[in-house]
Amino acid sequence: MWCELSQANFSDEYQMEGGGRVPRTTRSAWSINRVVTHDVPVDVIPRRLWNEFKEPSMPDFDVSIYLPPLKTLKNIVDRMKNLSNFLVMEANLSGEMNLKIETDLVSVTTHFKDLGNPPWGDEASQEGGPSQSRDPEAMAQARVDIRKLQQFLMGQQVNPSKAMCNIVHERVVHLILLHEDVSLQYFIPAVA
């Protein structure tokens, strides 16, 4: 999971104290009557290691689609979790997404329509040409562990202004929540 927070939004004062003991950042917020201070322990990463912590790059996805309302998605995924450990997410460039589970006892498929596809979905491939000729009805799919999807959906208490999903066929599901200046990206690898 990779989350970016813009520093300016969170505090008027932002201090780093090195000091030899556990470094802390102290955020303080002022309001009329009170000061609230949060001490958040951090590990300071030396500059020489910064390369190891890169924002994961946007993969070359096959399909990009807006997610249905997260509350609806959460209700359905919670129930599906009772029935199976794995779920297949598939979507196409016609705004359609399906969630599928299949076990010995039961198979369940939920169909979402008219979700809309982000405009840059068509330029997904850096090479330019091939994706534009992608059949809009063709589904890209990935089979994922339901618990990982549930974890992502638990974060839906924050009402995002945009929520979307990129799928690399049989490789990874990339979920993005945007809310004001905060972006949350969640990568779920596909399982066989």
Partner: protein
Amino acid sequence: MPLSTQSQGDAEQYVLVASLDNARNLSNILKAITFKDHAIFSATPNGLKVTVEDSKCLQANAFIQAEIFQEFTIRDDSVGFQVNLTVLLDCLNIFGGSTVPGVSTALRMCYKGYGYPLTLFLEEGGVVTVCKINTQEPEEPVDFEFCSTNVTNKVILLSESLKEAFSELDMTSEVLQITMSPSQPYFRLSTFGNSGNAHYDYPKDSDMMELFRCTKTQTNRYKMSLLKPSTKALALSCKVSVRTDSRGFLSLQYLVRNDDGQICFVEYFCCPDEEEQ
């Protein structure tokens, strides 16, 4: 695709099609009999009967008449199958079982016959979920041979009077003892637990007693573990009839009103505990 046109082309191949505008009218009543994984479904032109049994000593039946459904089409005189009830309930509640007024899940339940899965089409807010649940050959439900001509004692009580008693039942008691008599104590529930004995008496002229027809004094004990699930049916119901026959077999019949005010019935049969008076 709208549920109504879903199977226009293949209506022929289904032996049973049942539709509800509000799936809760089925799922709520099924919750009242969910104490085992498997349920036997039996459909006739009159409607649907769902049976759950425990160790041949307890049987619960839920009756949903054909009139409750917006559509109920059956091709044979009788259609039966067995299905995993917990899976079915998870499917019926796939959209989370919201209680927002005006929002309900529509259901179309279809069955093609022996060897085919039970297919559910569920729709809420434009989102469609299709479930295919595997079915098994239905077991023959136990016939408790409980007939009204053999009933010795019968009372009908308003459920609210029993709800409190059942919620407080001493679960350390292995049995629930039911005494019915034309004379005192009329109708008594008793438990014998670790902390002592408890009795709940319902006089025959109580406001809660809608009908009192006891011909002979009878005291019977039933395993608490068998009767405990009936509390779910009690919670949903507005009235309950309690009957015992000459063998001491117990019949509990619950009158349940669904979301639309329509009436359905749930019935529990229970054998008396062997070591009796």
